[in-house]
Symmetry: C2
Subunit: 256 residues, 2 copies
């Protein structure tokens, strides 16, 4: 199986981290071996699973910049089947450090290829930009999950993202595909959400997951307890939606 998936969208605050953390948790519960790799200097996915900042621990910065082997950068998350390669503040400087390195877009791919850990899914939580960190994720990934918030600005940014994916496919990673598009923070009481959903389904058809993630305050409360939604409130609408999404991801993986 061993699928590497980047959760990517340069628009900020669209639910990348929330999707990465909660999808990882539900896939692990379904018996899939999951590694969650946090490639954002904010390290939200890391703290969202309850990891305190600990700069003495190796993580995605050391993997990418210091070439520390993958098995030394991946840590137990305290949950069965789920491991984490934590993010850190050091990633804030990584973009500039990478800019002058040889094969600067391929460093993550090379690090993952050299690693000898086995997994079913390796999910990469990306920062809100199309800089060298995200380019590394697009080059390393087999496929992409693109969260799109049901808002106007989020819709606008999709063209820029698709153009970038195309150019990565041509030059760095020809096998790269969009695994799926997930609509997030949808408040169906508003006309805007319904309009954006209609436009996205019209433009991307089957690639859009049937599961739509509703706006649900429990999802934004869970990280302050260092818990995935399944641990914080498994009966919430947010939990049910991510459980549903995990099922859809597993079904799609089988069909590929």
């Amino acid at each position: 199986m061993a699928e590497r998936m980047a959760i990517v969208n340069q628009k900020g605050g669209v639910g990348k981290t929330t999707t990465a953390v909660n999808l990882a948790a539900y896939l692990a519960i379904r018996g899939k071996r999951v590694i969650l790799l946090d490639l954002d200097a904010q390290a939200n996915a890391t703290s969202g699973l309850g990891f305190e900042r600990d700069d003495s621990r190796n993580g995605s910065y050391e993997l990418l910049i210091n070439e520390v082997p993958l098995c030394d950068c991946v840590h137990d998350s305290g949950r069965r089947n789920l491991q984490i390669c934590p993010g850190s503040i050091h990633l804030a400087g990584a973009e500039v450090e990478l800019a002058t390195m040889e094969s600067r877009e391929r460093r993550l791919r090379n690090a993952l290829d050299a690693g000898d850990l086995s997994y079913d899914y390796l999910l990469i939580d990306c920062p809100p930009s199309l800089g060298l960190l995200t380019l590394n994720a697009l080059t390393a990934a087999d496929s992409l999950i693109v969260p799109i918030q049901t808002e106007y600005y989020a819709l606008e940014g999709v063209t820029l993202l698709l153009d970038t994916i195309q150019s990565v496919k041509q030059s760095l990673n020809p096998e790269l595909q969009i695994f799926g598009i997930v609509l997030t923070m949808s408040d169906l009481r508003t006309q805007l959400a319904a309009q954006v959903e209609e436009e996205v389904r019209k433009a991307f058809g089957e690639r859009v997951f049937k599961t739509v993630i509703p706006r649900n305050v429990r999802l934004s409360e869970a990280p302050s307890h260092g818990q995935a939604i399944v641990e914080y409130d498994r009966r919430s609408r947010g939990a049910e939606a991510y459980q549903q999404l995990a099922r859809e991801v597993i079904r799609r993986s089988r069909r590929r």
Copy 2:
């Protein structure tokens, strides 16, 4: 008066653009001469005011990278007292281009110092990162407005932002100050929003604006019409909050 203010927070989706656009519009209505400078490749502030993508027009990329004079990069917005220096997709590559330039963090400051346009407020909408574009804004600005969404992840990122501001003050821009912190997207029906507000006011005291921007769907609808909230729905709660914020900004400016 001529105050340069950067609207900054590396956390994505916290309301930077919505604050930049709507504060600019209300300051202009109050008779202040305003330039809105869009430093984000997503160019949301540009489209939020109704500007179509037009790559033949000079904007912030040309100002920063090609050293085109400020007066050739600033355009009429169709509103009295409000001009715009548009963002564009080209900014996506600017981070890497800047990485190998001389005085790479000071290029925006130098470009603004050389410009001979007069204004009362120059607002800079920053992208969701602490890369070289945002560092240019922090080096060029007199002061900062920091939108903080009343959510856990947004609160977490503040330390990283403050550390960066400190290091810019020490090495690049000693006069830089936080003009104000504005709480955004606050849904006071949730306990989380009230908790975050309490923590922010405890940590930052007077620097936090009294005005809190509520979550209000009209604010997210306005950009799809290319309008500021004052044009789209001036009686909405979102409009009233940003009008209030503009008053507070003017009052604080007088006291400085």
